[in-house]
Every structure is written in structure tokens, then in C-alpha cells.
Symmetry: C2
Subunit: 321 residues, 2 copies
């Protein structure tokens, strides 16, 4: 079974671990969000790709969900001693090595997809990890500018998410560069050849939404022969984790499991899973032309996540039939 | 008193610490060798400049003589896990931060002299540290090529020095790029305005020799109004530390305190200090037109080094008179 998953960071990575556990023999291609990539200290950092790679490769900081286990922070402390920031982005020493290797390869002319493949030779994540694009796409968030009366300014997604902790209103989310970006090699082919396409409970705006913003990807998913099934990142009107509700507001979408499904729409989604606490949302989703089931959606451990993945695959079979 | 010192790495740095102790009020400009700079992992590493900066700034690994105290090696271990080398160059986590800051500034368009000044804002070495040039100069060493019968190949100085530990014959030492290099801003002015110019017991070929290979610097030193006094890096026919004898052979110079003085020559040197064990060398040096004294030259501690520096300054006064 060939499965394609459009993934963001922590939610996507944890879902993938459950999916691999549910169907160990499946051929899984992950199309990873690169809109939250950022250049820090002259190095190219790809937080979502790395979270998937570290999580599936056994190197993740489990409690935190991102970054490396057993991490130390000598480099960051020294950079701060030089007065070089930002200090709000927590790069550890082990993590730095990944960004050093990536930056060196990119400087030598390798596209991000080739670099990601090379990094995965070490981590062996058990999936084929593709960046959505080899071109630079950078998600910016439009916020109020306290220095300009009534004015607004765009900040990098990481600044909004990590430094500001999404505590200020987001007026718009713009994947800068997406319009000019091309899908990375293999992305459209994987979608076309897939038996099932899954949207994990990743952020529908800044993770899955950014992947879909690369011209050609949305069209490929919408036109794919395979059933497309998603899992709600919103449970009981709140994000399962993270701050998805903040950026949903920016795109005018209510923070409910049903509203997210309707935001994706029936042209993309064939099936949608909501949590059992959101069972009353199923009728509205089905009315929008999307098959919907209510099942437990909390990724409390790998077993629970594997059951979620199995439910998603079962729903895919149901809509296929 | 304005003192200019042409310095390499460990020997130069330790001498400078003694000099500062001997004349705390002096205005010292250090013209640092950059011929042993190397790009590693996409980062620009300046071993000699950093050794001076760390030593005078209190961050040096005292026993080792180079690198940072309290160093850890998480980044290097991770790079090795990615299969990315070289492994023979021991960059620690703290040291990495210096190279990351430097590389980021150079990528942003700052010349090495401005970067060095910025790094020194943190370390406050108590001297003005100038790279010999903002242009790229890379010392290469010609060695036998075991893969080509009777053939030879050029390797980066660091590969010869650190990886091969100077254990293979060096047939030539070539400061690649030196002919096209210009002295960094302030270098020629400092030499012209100096009251004393000192050659510390640094390597006469790959440290002081490389500085002198930048067009304009040798001429400025030779033509300076100030007396020029050097200290022998060879004591009792052996290098005080390091492997200076290996590269002296490559330029056809005997490993004796007197031969090194004659290699520099009376057009550069006004005075020369040899160790007391080499007192029999003084006559030959003086015959070459260079005032010579025999004094203890082992930099066993800061006090002993300060006495050496004071002897060098006394000899400068003697030749000036």
C-alpha cells in the first residue's frame, strides 16, 4: 500500500509514528512543510522536516516533541556571549550539526530534497521524506505593529509562533514565495501513484495549508485517484496541541473539527475523522460532501495513534468502495 | 610605546601575554597570520587569530594552547554521525560559535578585519588584533603523493600539520593567494607608526613568514623607522614547541637559532634573541649584521615570558641608540 502524508511538525511526526506502527509494510511518502524554514546564524533550519526525521529516526526529544534528545546548548550560549541572537529560538548543539550539514550541502549546490535524502541516510526514518518544494517558501504572519499607530507588520512564522507564542492577533498568514515555488521532485508522482492520501492532525493553515499552497500540489491531491482522508487537529473546540486556533482565526475559520473539514472542502477531502467528543460535528461535515466518522483522536501514545491511523485507512477503504 | 607584533598561533599568543605583562601600558597592535585559515563544514575558521583572541581574552584551553577551555564536542560527534568530516580537526562546541558568527558576518559582506574587531569586542584581548589581510591566503604544503609514483601533491597546511602531524617531508610551503593579497586596513600604518616591531618565537615559515609574504608588509617592516627585534623559536636545535623544524627544512633553513635569524636577514631584523643554550650562535648572527643577545627563551610561565619580552624591548632600545 502506497500512502502519501502531507505533514507539518510535531503532530505530523507523531501521527506518522502511529501510522508506521499500524501498517509496518506500507510504502509511506511524507510531503513535508518547509514554510516554517528559517535562516538562523547563517544556517538553514527546517524545523518540520527535522521533527519528522528525528521522531521517526529515534532522535527526538520526546517530551518536548521537537529538537534532539540529550541536547546541550554550548553553541547557543556562546552565540549569546557574542551578542548574536535570536535567543528565542532554542537550537541545541546536536541540532546545530544537522543545520551545518544542510547549509554546507545547499551552499555546494544540492537542492533541499537531495539534502533531506542525505540526512535521512543517517536517521533511516522508514518513510520517504520529501520537502514540499526545493524553492524557498517562508510563511509570514501579519500582526499589529506597536510602533505604527494602527499599522501592521509581517513577521516570520517562527517569530510569531516561538517568540510571540501566538499571543497577538494574526490578521493574515502568507506563504511568501509559494506562488513561484515548484513541487520538489517526486511530490506530484507520489500523489498520483498513491493508494491513500492522509492529512494528519497537523495545523491546517501553516502546515498542511502551506504544502497545499505550492502550485500543483492542491490540484494533484484534488485530482488523485486515491481517497483523501484527514484527521481533525481540533478536539472539543481546542487544538489537540499547539496553537492552531490562532491561525485558523486569521483565515476566518472557526476552531471546530467540522469547520476545518469544510475549510479543506470536498474537492480535497473524501473522508474526515473527528474525535468522539465532536460526534455532533459529523452531520455538518457529511452535509458538505465529506464522509465523516467520530473516533478517539488523542495521540496519547503510539498504540492510540496507530488506532487513529487504522481508522483513517478504514475510512479510506470505505469511501473507495 | 607603540609595539607591533607579527604573530602566529600558540607561540605568538603566549608571547603576547608576557609582553602585556611586561609593559601593561603599551599600545600593542598584532598582525595575525591568516594563512592557516581553513573552511570546515562551510564555516570559516581562523586558528591563529582565535588562539591570540582566546589566549589574551581568557578563554583558551591552557594545557592545549589552542581551542576553548571547558570545551564539549557534541557538534563534532553529530557531524561524524552524519559521516561528515574531517574528523582530524578538533572543533569544539564553544569554538563552533566563533566560526558561526564569523561566517555569518563574512556572508553579510563584512571583511575579516571588521569581523575580527567585532569578535574582539567580546574577548577584549587588550591589543588591537588585525588579520594580515582581508583577502584569502591559504598556506599549502607540497608533499609526496603516495598515489602517484614519484609525484607530489599540495595539501592545506592544516592537513599537513594536524592530520599528518608534519610526519612526512615538506618539499615546499606556498602561501596561495598571497601575491594578490593586500594588507588589511591599518596594517601598514601600524608598522609605519610603531616604536618597536617584534617577531615573537612563532614559526618563521608558516606564521611570521606568511605575514611577510603579503606584498607591502615585508617592505614596510624593512623600511620602518622602528627597530625590529625577533626571538628565536628554535632552542638548542629544536623548536620550542610545535614542529617548526619540519617546515624550515622545506625552505632550506637549518633548525638553529642563528640560521633562522639569517633567514629573516639584516634587511628585516635589527636585533635577535637566542636562548642561553645557543650563546655560541650570537657571533654568527652578529656577523650577519644583526645585534644578538643570549637570554633564557623558554616561555614556561607568564613571568618568564614577560622577562623575554622585556629583553626584546631592551635590545630594541640598544639598537635604536
Amino acid at each position: 500500500m502506497r500512502i502519501v502524508v502531507l505533514a507539518g511538525g510535531i503532530g505530523g511526526a507523531r501521527f506518522l509514528r502511529g501510522l508506521k506502527s499500524a501498517v509496518p509494510e506500507a510504502d509511506i511518502t511524507v510531503i513535508g512543510n518547509t514554510g516554517d524554514d528559517i535562516h538562523l546564524f547563517g544556517l538553514k533550519v527546517c524545523p518540520d522536516l527535522d521533527t519528522v526525521m528525528y521522531t521517526l529516526g529515534g532522535g527526538i526529544h520526546e517530551e518536548q516533541g521537537w529538537g534532539r534528545s540529550g541536547e546541550t546548548f554550548a553553541v547557543k550560549e556562546e552565540l549569546a556571549a557574542y551578542g548574536v541572537g535570536p535567543e528565542w529560538f532554542g537550537l541545541g548543539d546536536r541540532d546545530f550539526a544537522t543545520h551545518i550539514v544542510r547549509t554546507q550541502m545547499i551552499s555546494a549546490g544540492y537542492p533541499l530534497s537531495a539534502v533531506t535524502e542525505a540526512l535521512c541516510e543517517r536517521w533511516r526514518p522508514g518513510v520517504r521524506l520529501l520537502p514540499m518544494s526545493d524553492d524557498r517558501v517562508e510563511t509570514h504572519v501579519l500582526i499589529d505593529d506597536p510602533d505604527a499607530d494602527g499599522g501592521r507588520k509581517a513577521v516570520h512564522f517562527q517569530e510569531y509562533w516561538v517568540r510571540l507564542r501566538a499571543q497577538v492577533p494574526a490578521h493574515a498568514v502568507v506563504p511568501v514565495g509559494a506562488e513561484q515555488a515548484k513541487p520538489a521532485p517526486g511530490v506530484l508522482e507520489a500523489i498520483a501513484d498513491a493508494d491513500v492520501i492522509l492529512f494528519p492532525p497537523s495545523n491546517p493553515v501553516v502546515s498542511v495549508g502551506t504544502v497545499l499552497a505550492v502550485p500543483g500540489i492542491r490540484e494533484a491531491v484534488a485530482g488523485a485517484a486515491a481517497p483523501v482522508v484527514g484527521l481533525s487537529p481540533i478536539v472539543g473546540a481546542a487544538p489537540v496541541r499547539g496553537m492552531a486556533d490562532k491561525v485558523l482565526a486569521a483565515v476566518g475559520v472557526e476552531s471546530t473539527a467540522g469547520a476545518v473539514a469544510r475549510h479543506y472542502g470536498a474537492d480535497l477531502l473524501d473522508g474526515w475523522l473527528v474525535d468522539t467528543v465532536d460526534a455532533d460535528e459529523t452531520a455538518g461535515v457529511e452535509a458538505a460532501g465529506i464522509r465523516c466518522r467520530a473516533v478517539p483522536l488523542m495521540m496519547t501514545d503510539i498504540e492510540a495513534t496507530a488506532r487513529m491511523a487504522a481508522e483513517a485507512l478504514a475510512l479510506a477503504e470505505e469511501v473507495r468502495a
